[in-house]
Symmetry: C2
Subunit: 94 residues, 2 copies
Amino acid sequence: MEPIEVLGMVAGSISAITFLPQVIKTWRTKSAADISLLMFTFATISVILWLVYGIAKKSVPIIYTNSMVLLFSLIMLYFKFRYGKQQIPVAHEA
Amino acid sequence: MEPIEVLGMVAGSISAITFLPQVIKTWRTKSAADISLLMFTFATISVILWLVYGIAKKSVPIIYTNSMVLLFSLIMLYFKFRYGKQQIPVAHEA
């Protein structure tokens, strides 16, 4: 494999897990008020188009990378709907 | 241009602006507590690698898409450092 193709695979592997830290953070904090719904909507639409492109081109790296991103984008959309409301601080009462 | 290449260009165009709604939201709210620093770190590293890949492959769509994503990722990293602290609600006092 040529060095540039190795670079492409490394780039694709990092791209694939880009949204994973956000998924873990939001799952832990149960807070997604600051997250843009439109951002993950754009991400979901674009990776679906990339998946179709990858399947048509028979490109395994494109299919693999975008399948992973689609999974994490859908989880973030779910989290946004579930935890998207602004958290109201709970007063410390007896 | 073949239909599948048009699809690729549409996918790339949406990918390019994926982070834009997040940049606008964070700029407006000045709140980035829920945003994962690691997510935008991964995004920045991967798009720099994709840029090198695109330049080596002389692929204008890859260079264009990833230049845009790099710009928005760097803005989000700046916002995360500037607005990343948990907002403390201001009491309504006289």
